[in-house]
């Protein structure tokens, strides 16, 4: 039975309102709260370890699959393995996300490994939002690991967002692109207070005419600390672009270390990285439009992380 807190978390991290429609698996406090397969998307629990297998049949088009995780008990610590087997010629959307409501003094922690095997010419949109709340002193920790294998002509659009409230995170992302495959990763991350966040990402462009694009936007407030390591490796005739932009505020610290590696003369790789505070002229401009300094700052941050 979902409580009000559960429902609020699910809306925040997976835009889920009311009874879930389509394929769904809700994991709550290390247990299975709800599971529903459809004709084309089958979700089964793993026998040997925590987690699920999601199998999507060839030619599945226009279906969504929600697999949110919520932790509402203080002290829950888990390591979850979710594997996605996506057939050929699919066009599907997978909505993950993790919300922690910690009102206790113990650390709540969700570590997960998501592995995607995307079949030929399939198109996947993967959305993952992370959010923490609760007035307890216990930490809210998330360490997601995502591994994606794209077969010929397959694409993944991966949108990850750390909304707020996560005390510590270490993200690990690896995507291997086959011939003509394309990976577009958009990462948005906000840290505040004394939070720490690290994102390690590697896109390997293995196949001919493969493409990779990483857009990383982050805001570090207060005394928080962020480190980014986006890397693009070109092993064939390919195109890769890494763009990291960060807004730094208060006493925060940000380290951005993009890297591009070409192992083929036909590889075209570009990286850009910028860290800076909100420009004073931007605030003044918005103030001349009637916004207060606080509203102007919020507007810039909201736009940046939208």
């Amino acid at each position: 039975m979902l409580t009000e807190v559960d429902s609020a978390l699910l809306e925040k991290i997976a835009d889920m309102l009311g009874k879930p429609v389509g394929a769904v698996n809700i994991r709550k406090d290390s247990g299975c709260e709800a599971r529903q397969s459809t004709e084309h998307i089958e979700i089964t629990g793993k026998e040997d370890k925590p987690g699920i297998d999601i199998r999507i049949k060839d030619g599945t088009v226009g279906e969504k699959c929600h697999i949110p995780v919520i932790i509402t008990k203080s002290g829950v610590q888990e390591m979850v393995y979710n594997d996605f087997f996506i057939g050929e010629n699919c066009d599907v959307e997978i909505i993950a996300g993790c919300g922690i409501h910690n009102c206790g003094g113990e650390e709540s922690r969700h570590d997960g490994i998501h592995t995607f095997y995307v079949g030929k010419n399939s198109k996947v949109k993967y959305t993952e939002k992370h959010y923490g709340e609760g007035d307890g002193t216990g930490g809210r920790i998330m360490n997601p690991q995502t591994v994606v294998y794209l077969e010929e002509g397959a694409t993944i659009q991966m949108d990850t967002t750390q909304i707020r409230g996560i005390d510590s995170t270490k993200r690990d992302t690896k995507i291997v692109c086959g011939k003509g495959a394309e990976a577009v990763v958009t990462e948005r991350l906000l840290t505040h207070g004394d939070q720490v966040a690290e994102s390690d990402m590697e896109i390997v462009l293995d196949g001919e005419d493969s493409k990779g694009r990483v857009i990383s936007r982050s805001v570090a407030q207060d005394r928080s600390n962020q480190v980014f390591y986006p890397r693009m490796v070109g092993n064939a005739s390919c195109f890769g672009h890494v763009q990291c932009d960060s807004i730094i505020m208060g006493d925060a610290k940000i380290k951005s270390i993009p890297a591009i590696t070409a192992n083929c003369t036909e590889a075209q790789l570009v990286h850009e990285a910028a860290i800076g505070k909100i420009a004073g002229e931007q605030l003044l401009k918005l103030e001349t439009l009637g916004l207060t300094p606080e509203e102007a700052e919020e507007c810039i941050l909201k736009g940046f992380l939208a």
């Binding site: 936007r217 401009k285 918005l286 103030e287 001349t288 009637g290 207060t292 810039i300 940046f304 992380l305």
Partner: protein
């Protein structure tokens, strides 16, 4: 009505104090189009910024519709109907042209048609620009025109434009002057335009020549343009030979 009374602005530098504005007083009636012109560094932009609240005068008083706004913030002045188009507008990495026009208009559901109207007035096509971010991918001229469109979207009672022609191509400039003329003709707003362009100066009800921190001349375009010409030619050592 806008009234500036005995406005002084002094800055401190290594050599002591420098007077940027020296006891400037002027009154601008409603629905007038007034052009501030004069040599660079003469104090035009500082005077305009003082009206918007972007610069605080060392002394003096600003009255807007009879209310003393000298100590009001930029936001408060904006809410009272004053807007300001920057000479070099800032760029925003994550705000789109639509976002900026929506913020400026104060209408959260600003329609595409409305956006299109504002952009057309500055010579831009909404289909090409509406979803673009106001970032470094836009040229200086494009950002400038979007800035002016944001002032049009704001639709305030007093519009201040700081060198709107700077960085704008000839064709867009012609469209822009038509827009200023239209606003003026319809009596929609009071406009203060800082400009060096004869075409804009000739639209003005009144031209105020600001130089060396003071008002040097005031009058109609017909009265002032010959004076500007004389001052300019007179100041050229080559032509004076």
């Amino acid at each position: 009505m806008l009234e500036l009374k005995h406005i002084c602005y002094t800055v401190q530098d290594a050599d002591g104090s420098l007077d940027i504005l020296k006891d400037v007083s002027l009154t601008i009636d409603d629905h007038k189009l007034v052009v501030f012109t004069g040599p660079n560094g003469g104090g035009k932009t500082t005077l305009a910024k003082i009206i918007m609240g972007l610069v605080t005068p060392t002394s003096g008083q600003i009255l807007w519709n009879g209310q003393d706004i000298t100590s009001l913030s930029i936001t408060e002045r904006a809410k009272l109907g004053i807007s300001y188009g920057f000479q070099q507008p800032p760029r925003f990495k994550a705000l789109t042209v639509r976002d900026l026009l929506t913020l400026a208009s104060g209408d959260k559901k600003l329609s595409k048609d409305k956006c299109c109207q504002y952009l057309t007035k500055v010579g831009l096509c909404a289909n090409d620009y509406l979803e673009r971010e106001v970032d470094v991918s836009l040229s200086g001229g494009e950002v400038k025109r979007i800035e002016i469109a944001s002032i049009l979207a704001r639709g305030s009672q007093l519009m201040i434009f700081d060198e709107p022609e700077a960085g704008i191509d000839l064709w867009s400039f012609a469209r822009l002057t038509e827009t200023f003329e239209q606003i003026h003709r319809q009596g929609d707003a009071t406009m203060i335009i800082i400009s060096h362009q004869e075409r804009i100066i000739s639209l003005a009800d009144e031209v105020i020549v600001v130089g060396d921190g003071s008002i040097r001349h005031r009058g109609t375009a017909d009265e002032i343009l010959p004076k500007i010409l004389t001052d300019t030619l007179g100041g050229c050592p080559v032509l004076s030979r």
